[in-house]
């Protein structure tokens, strides 16, 4: 095939429902395209991805995933073809929009793989239903509605419960099960809004049926295979992304398995899918009746899971199919001898458990339904379901090793049963606890009762009961020494060449020596708020750097979505939770010379002391450095020795003591428990009243983990990522935050290079960074957060590991700091490397990272930003000017505001008016109309800014919430201090989120947005072009 210019669209920022799986898929796609000799143009706004590395594609565009932006790129790059099915729902929707706008046709861009009409057919619930009826495949009785009244009408005929499924949405946004008319009306309103085509499917409920998925591949010659089937433990009613999923199915007879397999093939053929496809079925538990729930004609979260569960690389094969190859000519990458046309068979069991963000949002609605709420997932592979389930439980990194125990042992039986009936993320543990309470003979009755109230198949209950019994008896599920088993797609029928392992116990050990000296890279586990895809990015780079240095990278991780768990990345992949036992077994089993913890986030760092105790050799920064950075007393002593200031603070052992300290320091203060991730339970407290309510809601203060109370300095926040080798420091760049200190760095807009700090302060930051790195005896990466307050530099915290900003700084500057850190861990010095030392020269372009939130998926969550991190992902804007980069960042993050003529609902606090008025005036000057309730309106009009009046909620309709729900405003600026859940402000913010309207809660963000709107960004450029600009500058 001649070399073609092929565009790949990524999935954009990580949001609930669309996570790292598309980085994994995209990387496989790009590699497959380049292996076939094609030129790849990649577009994705998410910088924390491997796919946007300049090494993965020939031209990488970190640009907004919008039609105008992608059209500009198409115009410059003139791709011959576009591969749309690897970038999740975002990529798919964008491809459809480009097609509908006539852009693909205008530029002669061919769509590869599954035809666009198939994509539309699968998404359009009415056409899909008709097609299924046409080919004789059953679907649930349903009706497509486009208005609330139509829906209510259908409900009158069909009865409740009903399932609401909006068309063209992601992760079931706006969907759910409704039990009465009030719920139906509320859900329909949200669902119709969430749907791109304002269409919702109302479906008679299949609640309680088994939920089964098939991952199917079809090539252009009509050859079809099933890669994997999966069974959800949670029956129909819980989104599959929020269900505990098992591969392969366990309770289906061969007839049932084959019946659904045959149906899958009928569907994929009828739809003319070319590539991967996911089909979800509901199977009646006591008959052979089934119904097709939905079809996703693209790679998905499920296909990533299926790929990792079987070893079969679906995205790679899908890409080759899109290029016109057939399954019988594509080699099987696992065996190397057979072909891709076969069906994997497993000799182990795979269990996936979702990771939910509820630990960070105590007030969130934790009920599970058709709208996905989890941010990530942990997968366990075991020779039995029991061991696989427990690996997944442990792998959630919730400090939970068992099914039994607190807090569920303290709950009443009624409380436990309540969540068995109406599931939350805690259902598995509730089931286990209920079984424990039923002793001896009562167990069978308890199983019957749980089955009756939850419809969970008895098989799972029997298995959970067996785990409970083992835990009660204190017996291991799998006795014996650890033994490595292979994932070979063929149940040992053929020898595999891919070094993909999991652990069993007391069985044959199949590990093979790595080709070179092994070094273990410990991964970061499931994606959660505060520990996202960026750590996987660092792990992958560490593995690559090891390989480049002549070592054999061994990766241990349990996140099925990620690039790091692609067996191509390492010389041995051990798919296990990164816990001390598993890391030790991997270290010893591979005869490794060391273990690297610095890239796997806090999960890996937390292993340091236990691994040291077991004489596992940690390379890079060692345990002493890690302890010094983590332990407040040690860290303070180090700072004192260096003469570096930090905000004054104390460690309180009780809330009473915290109050005393707060008075001494003076409000506002920043409070947080020690040893937490992502700013959990961290808050800025402005007065004693707030401190009292914090004491009520915060986790109790435990001995040995005091509550930290710091003076809060509302200054400019600055963040540094550096590499230190014992002598020299390398600082690729310094980030400056748009929002002043007090908002978690992960939730702030951050800018590189710095825009406001002067040379003297820059020098001071470099000097302090080096002295801290030296004092902490860092050998590798360090991340430091500073505050510049009234001309002084204060340190907030130092982390002896890779940070969230590492991928961004690598991308912005081209300095591969992970590779540098890896080589330092292996004993090299910076001065012998190609990256230079000291502060890297500023780039002649600016990058702006804008956080992205998933608030619409998290009902009940307060959207005000603060020290506790809430964002799930991020986008990057790159431009030659700061303002242009800012604008691209906002657009990429999905903030939609017309250049002028928009309506902005504002609400500002009296004490902030001197700051807010100039900003709001700029919005008015751009031609936007400000809308406000009486208090804010008075402030604005006093200042001579025109403003439209709107009622407060208590004034009656039409009030603020009405205009939001009716989408008569384009933006909400709601400046708020401190959490005020359940207040008017909270209701306004939630209404904005649920209506898809951007809501800014910080004046700093509002100022940045207006600055962005006042400026026009430059045209898109590829990362390679930006790098060339930097090169020209450094040469000049």
């Amino acid at each position: 095939m001649p070399r073609r210019n092929i565009m790949v669209i990524g999935s954009g920022p990580i949001i609930i429902g669309q996570a790292a799986e598309f980085d994994y898929a995209g990387v496989q796609a790009c590699r497959a395209l380049r292996e076939e000799g094609h030129r790849v143009v990649l577009v994705n706004s998410n910088p924390a991805t491997i796919m946007t590395d300049p090494e993965i594609a020939d031209a990488v565009y970190l640009e907004p995933l919008t039609v105008p932006s992608v059209e500009q790129i198409i115009a410059r790059e003139r791709p011959d073809a576009l591969l749309p099915t690897l970038g999740g729902q975002t990529g798919l929707n964008l491809a459809v929009e480009l097609d509908e706008a006539g852009i693909l046709q205008r530029y002669g861009v061919e769509l590869l793989g599954t035809p666009v009409d198939t994509i539309k057919l699968a998404e359009d619930r009415e056409r899909f239903k008709e097609k299924m009826i046409e080919i004789g495949e059953p679907v649930a009785e349903s009706e497509i509605v486009t208005t609330v009244e139509q829906g209510v009408d259908f409900a009158r005929r069909s009865g409740y419960p009903l399932v609401v499924r909006p068309a063209y949405t992601l992760g079931g946004t706006g969907g759910g099960v409704v039990y009465d008319e009030a719920e139906l009306r509320e859900r329909l309103d949200a669902g119709l809004n969430a749907s791109l085509i304002h269409q919702v499917l109302l479906e008679t409920s299949l609640l309680g049926w088994k939920e089964i998925e098939y991952e199917v591949l079809r090539d252009g010659a009509d050859n079809c295979i099933i890669v994997c089937n999966m069974e959800n433990i949670d029956p129909v009613g819980v989104h599959t992304g929020d269900s505990i999923v098992v591969a392969p199915s366990q309770t289906l007879t061969d007839r049932e398995y084959q019946m659904l397999r045959t149906s899958s093939l009928n569907v994929i053929r009828a739809l003319d899918v070319q590539g991967g496809c996911n089909i979800q079925f509901a199977l009646h538990p006591t008959s052979n009746e089934y119904a097709i729930i939905e079809v996703n004609p693209r790679v998905s979260r499920s296909s990533a899971l299926a790929s990792k569960a079987t070893g079969y690389p679906i995205a790679k094969i899908s890409t080759r199919i899109a290029l016109g190859q057939t399954l019988d000519e594509i080699p099987n990458p696992v065996t190397g001898v057979t072909k891709a046309a076969y069906e994997p068979t497993l000799d182990y069991v795979v269990v996936k458990i979702p990771r939910w963000p509820f630990d960070k949002f105590p007030l969130a609605d934790t009920s599970l339904g058709t709208q996905m709420k989890s941010t990530g997932e942990a997968m366990g592979i075991g020779r039995t379901f029991r061991s696989a389930l427990m690996k997944a439980v442990r792998g959630l990194d919730l400090k939970r090793e068992k099914l039994l125990g607190a807090p569920y042992s303290e709950w009443s039986t009624a409380e436990l049963e309540a969540i068995v009936v109406k599931p939350t993320h805690e259902r598995l543990f509730a089931v286990a606890e209920l079984l424990r309470r039923a002793h001896g003979e009562g167990r069978d009755a308890a199983i019957e009762r749980i089955h009756a109230i939850s419809a969970i198949d008895r098989f799972w209950l029997y298995e959970i009961e067996a785990i409970v019994a083992a835990e009660e008896a204190g017996e291991p599920l799998e006795p014996g020494a650890p033994s490595f088993r292979m994932v070979d797609t063929a149940a040992a029928e053929f020898p595999a060449k891919s070094p993909y392992y999991y652990l069993s116990h007391g069985e044959l050990d199949e590990i093979r020596p790595t080709p070179h000296d092994a070094v273990v890279v410990v991964g970061s586990g499931p994606i959660r708020i505060g520990q996202g895809i960026e750590f996987d990015y660092s792990c992958v780079h560490a593995a690559w750097a090891l390989r480049a240095a002549g070592k054999s990278p061994v990766v241990i991780n349990n996140n099925p979505e990620t690039v790091s768990t692609d067996f191509d990345i390492s010389d041995a992949l051990v798919f296990e939770p990164p816990g001390p036992d598993e890391v030790e077994a991997t270290y010893r089993g591979t005869n490794a010379s060391g273990v690297m913890l610095a890239f796997g986030g806090q999960t890996a760092i937390n292993l340091a002391s236990e691994l040291s105790r077991r004489n596992v050799r940690i390379i890079g920064s060692d345990r002493a450095s890690l302890d010094m950075a983590e332990d407040r007393a040690q860290f303070d002593a180090a700072l004192q020795r260096l003469g570096v200031a930090r905000p004054e603070g104390k460690a309180a052992t009780s809330f009473r003591e915290a109050r005393v300290f707060a008075r001494e320091l003076g409000f506002p203060v920043l409070v947080r428990p020690s040893f937490v991730l992502g700013g959990r339970a961290m808050e800025i407290i402005y007065n004693e009243g707030q401190l009292a309510s914090y004491a009520e809601s915060a986790p109790p203060i435990l001995p040995g983990a005091p509550l930290l109370v710091d003076k809060y300095l509302r200054g400019l926040e600055v963040e540094v990522d550096a590499v230190f080798d014992g002598d020299d420091i390398l600082i690729p760049g310094i980030f400056e935050h748009i929002e002043r200190a007090g908002i978690h760095s992960g939730d702030s807009i951050s800018v590189y290079p710095t825009q406001t700090i002067d040379q003297a302060m820059t020098d001071r930051i470099v000097e302090v960074t080096k002295s801290i790195a030296s004092e902490l005896r860092i050998r590798g990466l360090i991340n430091i957060q500073f505050v510049v307050h009234e001309g002084d530099l204060y340190i907030i915290e130092a982390n002896p590991r890779a940070s969230r900003t590492v991928p961004i700084i690598q991308k912005a500057t081209g300095v591969n700091m992970v590779a540098a850190a890896t080589r330092i861990a292996l004993g090299e010095k910076l001065r012998d490397m190609e990256y230079g030392t000291g502060l890297h020269p500023r780039t002649p372009y600016v990058v702006v990272k804008v956080p992205v939130f998933s608030f619409s998926k998290m009902r009940g969550v307060e959207t005000i930003l603060g020290p506790e991190m809430k964002s799930t992902g991020e986008v990057l804007g790159i431009d030659e000017t700061f303002e242009g980069a800012l604008r691209k960042g906002f657009v990429g993050a999905g903030v939609r505001l017309p250049g002028s003529g928009g309506r902005i609902l504002v609400s500002i606090a009296d004490e902030e008016k001197s700051e807010s008025l100039p900003i709001l005036r700029r919005y008015a000057d751009l031609g936007h109309t400000l809308v406000a309730t009486a208090g804010t309106r008075a402030i604005l009009e006093d200042a001579g800014i025109a403003c439209e009046a709107i009622n407060k909620i208590s004034d009656g309709s039409p009030h603020v919430l009405d205009v939001i729900h009716a989408r008569k405003v384009d933006l909400v600026i709601n400046d708020a201090k401190g959490p005020r859940e359940l207040s008017d402000g909270y209701r306004i913010r939630r209404a904005a989120v649920e209506s898809g309207i951007a809501c800014l809660t910080s004046l700093d963000t509002a100022k940045a947005l207006v600055t962005a709107l006042e400026n026009v960004p430059g045209p898109p450029r590829s990362l390679h072009e930006y790098r060339d600009l930097a090169r020209v500058q450094s040469v000049g």
């Binding site: 010659a221 309770t251 007839r255 029928e493």
Partner: protein, 351 residues
């Protein structure tokens, strides 16, 4: 206990006994009831590579034969409490009732690797102290005299009988150990099937002037059945002939091709087969230890199907006469139904 001396431990069920036979493995993840009752597994000790067996119990309706056909079975984890609305009993109780010795909790993957590396091998499976001693004592002697010759007679029908309804094509089926699923497929398509013993004579086969003759699958080595091969040779060109699995091998031998023993056989439901006629890939169910040597196919035979994994012959047809056969199982049960259409296509040609 394999004939090369390697040994795998586990525990047994209530039934105590010794099984001597060929050790083989089955890679399907479902379909244990069908597999355990498949006559083609007669005389074999069957290891399931999938570790959780028995989850949905025994329904009786999935059975391919009135009783268990395997000599013994090896399972990693057996379900004592099945969960399925069709389950009549649990697998352990059924195995005990069928007097099938079962090794539970053994490292089935290690056994599979051993079989893959060594090739199919004679073995003994024993449950019970005395039985273990007996197995140790007798395995060598068994290996010395072991043969597959008695397998087909042990499972094939002895009585001529008729299945299905009248009015459709009349098919005489040579029963070498037929599965219910084959009779189900043929009768569901309206044919009237006369089942005759594997050693039926030419005259017996032609009795009633059937429209076509079908040669069933069955256990063991096709060269164990020289009389059947002779009979088939006499029928060539006189009646349309169609063979499946052992039937395929017998027809190949009758046409002058050769068969050979595969290193460790094909047993599972995921084998890709290329249909050379329409260039399509079928995922097929397999259960065979012998194969037809593609290179030995006489010029009259055209290869129609090829295994994509190892290139072995999966089907042929005669260039002039109405003779066709496939090595895999279009009737599935257990396994996928990608090739189900072959029955209808064949029946359409014989009317």
């Amino acid at each position: 206990m394999l004939a090369d001396g390697s040994r795998f431990d586990g525990h047994g069920l209530d039934y105590r006994g010794v099984a001597f036979g060929e050790a083989v493995f089955y890679t399907g993840m479902t379909g244990y009831e069908e597999a355990l009752t498949d006559p083609s597994y007669a005389g074999q000790i069957l290891t399931f590579t999938y570790p959780l067996i028995g989850n949905y119990g025994i329904s009786g309706t999935a059975a391919q034969y009135p009783r268990a056909c395997v000599a013994g079975t090896v399972i990693k984890q057996i379900a004592h409490r099945p969960s399925h609305y069709l389950a009549k009993t649990d697998l352990p109780s059924w195995l005990d009732e069928q007097s099938i010795p079962a090794l539970i909790g053994a490292d089935t993957r290690a056994i599979t690797i051993a079989l893959r590396e060594h090739g199919t091998i004679w073995a003994a499976l024993a449950v019970g102290e005395e039985e273990l001693e007996r197995a140790e004592r007798e395995l060598t002697a068994f290996v010395r005299t072991a043969t597959t010759k008695a397998l087909v007679p042990s499972v094939a029908t002895r009585e001529r009988h008729v299945e299905g309804t009248t009015g459709g094509p009349r098919v005489t089926l040579i029963d070498c150990g037929v599965k219910k699923a084959i009779l189900r497929e043929l009768t569901a398509l309206g044919s009237e099937v006369t089942v005759v013993p594997y050693n039926a004579t030419e005259a017996e086969l032609l009795e009633g002037d059937p429209d076509a003759i079908f040669i069933s699958p069955g256990p063991g080595d096709p060269t164990d059945l020289p009389e059947t091969i002779d009979t088939l040779r006499k029928l060539m060109g006189r009646k349309p002939l169609f063979g499946v699995c052992l039937g395929h091998q017998l027809l190949a031998l009758a046409c002058g091709a050769k068969t050979y023993k595969l290193p460790y056989g094909h047993r599972g439901g995921n084998q890709p087969v290329k249909d050379r006629v329409n260039d399509h890939v079928l995922i097929t169910a397999h259960n065979h230890g012998y194969a037809v040597d593609t290179h030995s196919l006489p010029s009259d035979l055209e290869e129609t199907m090829t295994n994509l994994n190892d290139g072995t012959n999966e089907g042929f047809r005669h260039r002039k006469l109405p003779i066709a056969a496939v090595q895999f199982h279009p009737e599935a049960s257990p396994g996928p139904f990608d090739a189900r259409r072959l029955f209808a296509e064949w029946l359409a040609t014989v009317r």
